[in-house]
């Protein structure tokens, strides 16, 4: 009697929970991932006696994640179309070499631009992005039109591009990079408190506008809409998340010594009690822009629709008149461009280009996409999932380093988590019958 009662209780509770997430129209998978992420953060915070969740460490965590996260968004498209890209780390190295050589050697020597010329960083970035796009397109052509499996094309690419980068720089470490260029790396380019709030508030308003618009659009077509309290709750959660994140980043103060040196460099004296916050790093802003653009492509454009349709059923896509070969070229081109953007962030963060930049990033990027729920069978994956995946991986790695876990054990844990995440995902999909 009592057992049936508890079962019934559990049943109604489960139903109520299902109804709540349904009402809010929140993806339960997303909820699970956020839960896992929060659990990782809390556990490490306890293990480090509160040192893990300080503004400083959160700041570091975000700037360390950017490079992998940017590439992971592109990897979602690659994996969704049933391909793989093993060359992203190597491609990052080639793009980074191109950007480094452009600003330190080629532009000054061949175009006669003096070092420190204001156009140098921008031309270097442009050259890197073009290089990444062209190499990506080439690999996409080999895959899509020449029918060589992407696994082989990019496995070859891993060796080719890693060492093309080496040739371009004759193996030297190139640095220091242009100061403007370095602003995309993280700590050397932040918005400061005021502009961080401006971006945060603008972002919040934009997110609320999107929510409001989609509600109005649904009403116009006479579809069911969420109850107004659910909309308000969702909006409040989003606002708190964005503004809370900005508040944390703004709580990270620039060290006094550094500020004093900056004042001295300008020949001024630092006023007593002067403080300055780092705020939102430009690299993180770049990641947010990439994430928004990629999400819009995925959900609101034909390109994105065709990427998912082709991943779900390549034959159906072709019979619907979709040029799946050209689509493959486009997907790999996007991946290449994102590798170049990541190269910018990664080399700017290190303030120089070295030959081993991006080594093993292909594995981190694929792992981030997969932990984020991208199915290797194709057709399923989200941009926010991949970014969350990258965050979870980076948190694990940083957290373990902070706790003082042995290096080999760190990798054993990360590897196990990857497999475990996929297992949980498989069980989840099986239970809910989704995917």
């Amino acid at each position: 009697m009592s057992t049936t009662d508890t079962e019934k209780d559990a049943g109604t509770r489960a139903r109520r929970r299902a109804r709540l997430t349904d009402t809010l129209e929140i993806d339960t998978r997303l909820l699970g991932m956020i839960g896992a992420f929060v659990a990782v953060l809390v556990v490490f915070n306890i293990l480090t006696d509160g040192r893990f969740l300080t503004p400083r460490n959160i700041f570091n965590l975000t700037i360390q994640t950017v490079s992998v996260a940017i590439m992971a968004t592109g990897m979602v498209f690659v994996i969704v179309t049933r391909h793989i890209d093993l060359s992203v780390g190597a491609l990052l190295a080639t793009c980074s070499a191109v950007m480094a050589m452009m600003q330190t050697a080629w532009l000054p020597q061949y175009l006669g631009l003096p070092l420190g010329h204001p156009m140098i960083p921008w031309l270097a970035i442009l050259a890197g992005i073009i290089a990444g796009g062209l190499i990506g397109a080439f690999q996409g052509w080999l895959t899509g039109y020449m029918m060589i499996p992407a696994f082989i094309v990019t496995l070859g690419g891993l060796l080719v591009w890693r060492n093309t980068g080496w040739y371009l720089t004759t193996g030297q470490t190139i640095g220091p990079l242009d100061p403007t260029f370095q602003m995309f790396g993280g700590i050397n380019g932040t918005l400061g408190a005021f502009w961080s709030w401006v971006v945060g508030i603008a972002g919040t308003l934009a997110a609320l506008a999107v929510l409001w618009n989609s509600r109005r659009d649904k009403q116009r077509h006479g579809f069911m809409v969420k109850p107004i309290w659910a909309e308000v709750a969702l909006g409040a959660i989003i606002a708190v998340a964005i503004l809370g994140f900005i508040a944390i980043l703004n709580a990270y103060q620039v060290p006094e010594g550094r500020l004093r040196r900056e004042f001295e460099a300008r020949g001024e004296v630092m006023p007593e009690g002067y403080t300055e916050a780092y705020g939102l790093p430009i690299s993180v802003l770049l990641l947010i822009v990439v994430a928004v653009v990629m999400t819009v492509i995925a959900r609101k454009t034909r390109l994105g629709r065709y990427i998912f349709a082709t991943g779900g059923n390549p034959q159906a896509a072709e019979l619907s008149g979709i040029n799946t070969r050209l689509l493959t070229v486009k997907v790999f081109t996007i991946m290449g461009v994102l590798c170049a953007i990541s190269a910018l962030v990664a080399s700017a963060r290190l303030t120089n280009h070295s030959n081993d930049i991006g080594t093993l990033d292909e594995l981190r990027v694929i792992a981030a996409a997969v932990i984020g729920g991208t199915a290797l069978a194709g057709g399923i994956g989200t941009i926010y999932g991949a970014i969350l995946g990258a965050l979870i991986m980076q948190s694990l790695q940083s957290g373990m380093a902070m706790v003082g876990v042995d290096a080999p054990l760190q990798n054993i844990v990360v590897g196990s988590v990857l497999v475990l995440a996929v297992l949980i995902d498989i069980i989840y999909r099986h239970r809910t019958g989704k995917g």
């Binding site: 659009d217 819009v296 034909r302 059923n313 159906a316 019979l319 619907s320």
Partner: protein
Amino acid sequence: MTPLVEMRNISIAFGGVQAVDDVSIDLHAGEVVGLLGHNGAGKSTLIKILSGAYKADSGEILIDGKRVEINSPRDARAHNIETIHQTLALADNLPAPANLFLGRELRTMFGFLDDSRMESETRKIMARLNPNFKKVAEPVSALSGGQRQSVAIARAVYFNARILIMDEPTAALGVHETKMVADLIMELKAQGLGIFLISHDTREMMSLCDRVSVMKNGQLVGTERVEDVSEDDILSMIILGKKAPEAV
């Protein structure tokens, strides 16, 4: 009267195999023509040439008496030829509206996908074709065979097909759903569409079709009006590859 579609002397070979060998068939508006034959007889291949999935080695296609070139599924659609493939050709991971409009998405004035309008159009047409259809927002992998079939049919009907090709439309369906598809075929026929129907089920073909064309080993055995022949005659054409004596 000029036929809606004429396929004349169509041949296609894959490697050394002559999959379709000098076959001619035609279809009039408001008519259902069935294609019968064993597996590998060449029915699906012949029809895929009309739907643009394959290109014939020789022969010509005429629509309304005018010669046309069909080199891709897009070309076929441009001539109002819609195909419901044996494999249904649905992207399982996408919901019904995305599948219905795949390759012909409705867009907003900024060029973005207009999902709300596509959803509302889908609801409208599904209300007509299959009133039980409710799962508009879920991936089609969550749908039953009949519901999936109605998505495939809706896709063909929505875009004002004049020529409809149905390859085994009832193969995966239960009795009730088969009846639903049969009713739909009759309705579309009454609206003046020309329909090519491929099936293994001779009895079903006898009841749905006006004429049947029988193929064997890539060649056309013959085309008969269903009222002129018995089911046994058709079976002997399929099996023996020649017309039964009494039908000659």
